[in-house]
């Protein structure tokens, strides 16, 4: 990895990132944030960096970013995209890979939202055995409501390492929802996404992350809340076989009356390892703030492991805080209830696992997106998407119930 850091003619931003990276050091097994992740294997590999050439951006329904290069975007949605070499990098991020991404990518993708809109960003990875570094900036203007969905698609990027992430600027009174779905597979690409969200006064940021599969992925998030700002941060993980995945986050309340809710649900199967290492910090400039943090994990069998570490640090009296963490098996009473109605034990277990996950997926308002995520979950969970009605698809009921009898 260090070999890669001998950059030819780095720009100002890269120099700054390298400097920060030097201070933090490349992560090792001992680095707090990567304690439970197999970082050593990743860092010791001889990587080839992939930097693609910018091409003309086509008009398309979604924003498509392939191997770090923008392929298409929707015109007339109030969205502008440009490559920038200078942007507002966080001076104080906890994650070394945040800076590694900046150090290794010469240009960064800046996406600007100037009016209300909803958009899907598809990140496609299609080259094998490469390190793919790139950073995105999401700027959301004052008073704008933006619903952004990020799907990640591993198109034969076997054994690649994607070092990416976004800096998200949620301006005053803006309302942003960011849904990130990532399914990683064994021997596919490893995805480490290091984000930072800056949430201005009176703004709301809803973050939903979904990490599924038998591969490796990690979300690292740093979020700062100013006066009256809100963050709702939800994380669902389903990991199987030898998967290694999770969320490492730091949410910092910097302004008064700020509010945070963080919930994580984790399902671990086979010998998969899940991580939820999340700190919520309420600064002394943030009186009357409220926070609630909760993590639940279900271990489906003996070899599965969950590292759950929700933490609160509070530096002022006048706040409201709640927090909890449970790791366990499926509820015996619920299991019996289903079986007493004739469902075979395995079927009953499946239904409860789906239910556990559905609670997180159903928080998504947009129907198509919700369906897509239900399907990706199902795909990983049952090795096939379920074509038939699923537990929470209420469409047919609604239609039937409206029908005149």
């Amino acid at each position: 990895m260090t070999r890669l850091l001998n950059l030819l003619s780095p720009n100002e931003m890269q120099i700054e990132a390298l400097e920060k990276l030097k201070q933090l050091g490349l992560p090792t097994k001992k680095t707090e944030e990567y304690r439970y992740f197999d970082i050593k294997a990743l860092m010791s590999k001889k990587w080839d960096r992939y930097i693609g050439d910018e091409i003309d951006i086509k008009d398309g329904k979604d924003i498509i970013i392939q191997n770090g290069i923008v392929i298409s975007m929707p015109k007339n949605k109030g969205i502008t995209i440009e490559y920038v070499t200078k942007a507002d990098m966080d001076k104080n991020h906890f994650d070394p890979l945040y800076y590694l991404g900046y150090a290794l990518s010469k240009t960064n993708i800046k996406i600007h939202f100037s009016k209300n809109c909803d958009v899907i960003i598809r990140h496609i990875y299609s080259i094998a055995d490469k390190l793919i570094p790139y950073r995105t900036f999401l700027y959301i203007d004052d008073n704008v409501k933006a619903d952004i969905v990020e799907f990640t698609e591993d198109a034969n990027a076997d054994n690649s390492f994607v070092c990416s992430g976004s800096d998200i600027f949620v301006a005053k009174n803006a309302n942003v929802s960011l849904i990130k779905e990532q399914t990683t597979r064994k021997n596919g690409c490893v995805c480490i996404s290091s984000d930072r969200a800056h949430i201005k006064p009176n703004a709301t940021f809803n973050l939903h992350t979904f990490n599924f599969g038998d591969g490796e992925s990690l979300n690292l998030i740093k979020a700062e809340l100013q006066n009256e700002a809100h963050i709702n941060s939800y994380h669902l993980l389903f990991a199987k076989e030898n998967a290694n995945m999770g969320t490492v986050s730091k949410i910092i309340h910097k302004g008064k009356n700020s509010k945070s809710i963080q919930k994580s649900k984790n399902i671990l199967q086979d010998s998969a390892k899940g991580i939820f290492d999340a700190l919520i910090k309420i600064d002394n400039q943030a009186p009357k703030s409220t926070t609630n943090q909760n993590s639940q994990a279900i271990l489906l069998n003996d070899g599965a492991f969950m590292a759950s570490k929700p933490q609160l640090e509070i530096y002022i009296d006048d706040v409201e805080a709640g927090h909890g963490s449970t790791i366990g098996e499926l509820d015996a009473g619920q299991l019996f209830y289903l079986r007493s109605r004739g469902m075979e034990q395995n079927e009953a277990r499946k239904m409860l696992i789906l239910a556990f996950a559905n609670e997180m997926i159903d928080l998504i308002e947009e129907k198509d997106v919700k369906e897509t995520i239900h399907k990706s979950f199902d795909y990983v969970y049952r090795n096939k998407p379920q074509i038939e009605c699923i537990a929470t698809c209420h469409n047919c009921e609604e239609i039937m119930l409206k029908e005149k009898s």
Binding site: S340, R341, A355, E397, L401, S405
Partner: protein, 254 residues
């Protein structure tokens, strides 16, 4: 055997414990096909333990004795096998299952049973058409089936939902553990009518209750008194009035 005395459930000298505490202490009970049996008895006597033992709840452990259902010993069968063979219990306290859509649950349960019986599965539309009729009969709001199973349901709504499951699954032997507790007057009537509609001369009922009110709607054929882990008295419908007058204390053990 006498033709009009076919036994659907035959419990012989049953000893069962919960958490190593002996609750059922040599209980004998016979349920006749097509009949309504009522069990009454003081709090803590073991009525719910009996029903849980019949359906194979994990809390209960049979120490000795047999439970024959349709002439087959079921003590070693899984709860789902017992259910598929036609045994149904409505829970005294139905559990909440967040995230499991009520309609989806009902349809899965019904299709599991249909598959077991060698019938074709119903698709969502076919199923919902049937379900809609039942909802109406039970005076249940259609929204109830779009919600998570029992989650946030009021006490009475939970009870109605148990009856809905009974009506969907059409079991042969039905145990109703305090189905009448917590029901308002209208709900009691709707639920009782639902139960009465299920009576077909073959289906048998075991109704556990503390109140005679529900028995004004559903006429019992037999009334049993369960006290201290045993059936201590069996009689006809008139036993209810007698119990209301004297209470359980006055009953002499046989």
């Amino acid at each position: 055997m006498n033709k009009d005395k076919k036994i659907v459930l035959d419990i012989k000298n049953l000893y069962a414990s919960i958490a190593e505490k002996e609750i059922l202490k040599g209980l004998d009970l016979q349920i006749q096909e097509g009949k309504v049996h009522v069990i009454m008895g003081p709090n803590g006597a073991g009525k719910s333990t009996l029903s849980k033992t019949i359906v194979g709840h994990y809390d209960t452990e049979i120490k000795s004795g047999d439970i024959l259902y349709k002439n087959e010993n079921i003590v070693d069968l899984s709860p789902e096998e017992r259910a598929l063979k036609g045994i149904f219990m409505s829970f005294q306290n139905p559990i909440e299952v967040p995230g499991v859509n009520n309609a989806y649950f009902l349809r899965t349960a019904l299709n599991t049973k249909r598959k077991y019986l060698g019938l074709s599965e119903l698709n969502a539309a076919q199923f919902l058409r049937e379900l809609k009729k039942l909802l109406k009969e039970l005076g249940m709001k259609p929204e109830m089936i779009q919600r998570s199973l029992n989650q946030g349901f009021s006490g009475g709504e939970k009870k109605r939902n148990e009856i809905l499951q009974m009506m969907v699954l059409k079991p042969d032997f039905i145990i109703l553990d305090e189905i009448d507790s917590g029901l308002d007057i209208d709900a009691l009537r709707d639920v009782s009518e639902g139960i009465n509609k299920m009576k077909d001369g073959k289906r048998s009922f075991l109704i556990i209750t503390h109140y005679s009110r529900i028995l004004e709607y559903i006429k019992p054929d037999f009334v049993h008194v369960l006290k201290d882990g045993k059936i201590i008295k069996t009689g006809g419908a008139d036993l209810v009035a007698q119990l209301e007058e004297t209470g359980y204390e006055a009953l002499e053990e046989i």
